[in-house]
Amino acid sequence: MTCLIVEIENLTKIYESKLRVVALDGIDLELKQGEIFGLLGPNGAGKTTTISIATTRSLPTSGRVHIAGIDVVEHPAHARRHIGVVPQFNTLDRSLTVYENLYFHCRYFGFGHGQAKARSLELLDQFMLTERKKMYPGQLSGGLAQRVQIARAIAHRPTVLFLDEPSAGLDPQSRMAMWAAVTELRKEGITVLLTTHYMEEADQLSDRLAIIDYGRVLALGPPQMLKNSFGARTIFDLKLKIHEGLEPVVAGLKARPDVASVEITPDGLRVIARNTDGVLPDIVVAAVRFGLRDLTITEPSLETVFIQLTGRDLRE
């Protein structure tokens, strides 16, 4: 039987200040035991707010979050027993060594001395940190610090691990190592919720993912399914010098069976094609008359899914 580890129901968060900001506008999510779930969206989409509420660091305006069946607003201290968090920033205890960071984290969660020591040594080994156990966080590189943070977050054997933008600020090599570490967690049966604005990361790591923007879930499902239903399309972005008189071109391209949609953008034209064969030359021929300056082709990916759903680029 699959059981739900994280249940987020109609979650809203509104910041009432001079400017009223709706950070979350009714988010519903359910995470099953053992899955790696990605929350993909641009900066400001509501990813971190969702994690903050689920990890008891922020109070929702309305809605509920249950972690392992425990309401995080009603019983935050109990819920925290089930939660592991790797925040966006390095929050390692700078006064303690790597080993002590793990050891005392275990003590915070009620482990006895022997248990805490054994668990810390086991984690040092698992995360290949044994040689660095006496180093202080200030002496570690970004990638290593991130590894210690992941080790620390799972030290008390949480039911669910939250990773907030885990690869932010990491070099490509450290990022790959971090991905490997997260994938390894699958063996331990830990449920993982990670937020990211990197398409590749969401695609590589997640069993299922939710694309969110403006505090709402736009699409939800396994990455492949999302790509099949929304994004098995290639996007051609054209930069044109002349923007007048494009309508006949739009109509002409729209009439083709292999073109899904065509729209006029501030830079020129965006063509979303069902397949690429034969479309490219025709697009170029049509666009040359309008002073074609640049052409960007985005192959089918989560990026194209995102563009389809929101009409804008993830990195904009």
Partner: protein
């Protein structure tokens, strides 16, 4: 009434909470609390020498200058009050109070300020399976331990340094213990208020405009009773919690010097600890939760 949440998950590792957040089931919070305390002990143990220097330097110099150098200069002690009583005897409880207060601020306000600010270390600490108020309470309790150590450190200095012997006489050890503990908790609570309610960039300013004035006007260098010649000031300083720390220690360590009645001191210490503690805890929780 049972307010336990419904357990919807079925995983074997999912444990049923044994009580609410407040009070009931508080035994399960004991171990995390102890864990935080052990962590702080570890860090203090590693930095014992800087700790002793930080806490001991001010009373050491104070005693050296005012009770060793000045009396030997022959011109009489310019800070002697009341003639009959030696300045060292007046200074001992006052300096213990200052050590308590500075330890409290150094142990809570300064670390909290940086943990909330640049280092964000607080983010992990508040993810302990403890109510947030208990995380703040641990800080106050640990700072109290440091304050007591700081206060006790002053005693050997006051014994060896002054040119004229300090007349100390503890006739009520229970009162001394009670005053030490209450004064230390009060200092920690004050530290919590400053650490959680003052923006990190203003911490230095707070020292100049709050900490230094309340020390100088805290009956540290003179007994409260001697302020009777300046009635308005004698009344005004009653709002200063440091006064009760100094007077409480005066009542228990150097009872020969005029001091406030012990019951008034205890009532005031409890009142200020409760008021500042509450304000500080609320500030802490407000700072952590967004």
């Amino acid at each position: 009434m049972n307010s336990e949440p419904e357990i919807r998950g079925q995983g074997s590792e999912i444990s049923r909470p044994s009580g609410g957040e407040n009070g009931r089931g508080s035994r399960i919070f004991l171990k995390p609390f102890l864990g935080l305390f052990l962590r702080d002990l570890r860090v203090l143990g590693r930095e014992l020498a800087p700790f002793i220097l930080r806490v001991g330097m001010q009373p050491l110099l104070f005693l050296f200058v005012f009770t060793f150098i000045l009396p030997r200069m022959g011109s009489g002690n310019p800070m002697a009050v009341g003639g009959a009583v030696d300045f060292g005897t007046i200074l001992l409880p006052g300096l213990m109070a200052v050590a308590i207060m500075f330890s409290g601020i150094a142990a809570v306000a300064l670390p909290l300020s940086s943990e909330f600010g640049i280092t964000r270390e607080i983010d992990d600490r508040v993810m302990c399976p403890l109510p947030l108020w208990a995380v703040a309470l641990e800080k106050v309790c640990f700072s109290a331990l440091q304050s007591i150590m700081g206060a006790l450190l002053v005693i050997p200095m006051a014994y060896y340094i002054p040119a004229h012997p300090v007349v100390a006489h503890v006739h009520n050890w229970f009162l001394l213990a009670l005053v030490l503990v209450l004064a230390s908790l009060l200092a920690g609570s004050l530290g919590l208020v400053i650490g959680s309610r003052v923006a990190p960039k203003h911490i230095g300013l707070v020292f100049s405009i709050i900490v230094v004035p309340i020390t100088f006007l805290g009956c540290v260098y003179y007994p409260w009773a001697q302020l009777d010649k300046i009635r308005w000031l004698q009344f005004a300083v009653l709002f200063n919690p440091i006064v009760y720390m100094s007077e409480g220690l005066r009542a228990s360590v150097t009872p020969g010097v005029a001091h406030m009645p012990w019951w008034a001191i205890l009532v005031a210490l409890v009142f200020f600890t409760a008021a500042l503690g509450r304000w500080g805890l609320k500030g802490f929780v407000g700072r952590v939760l967004s």
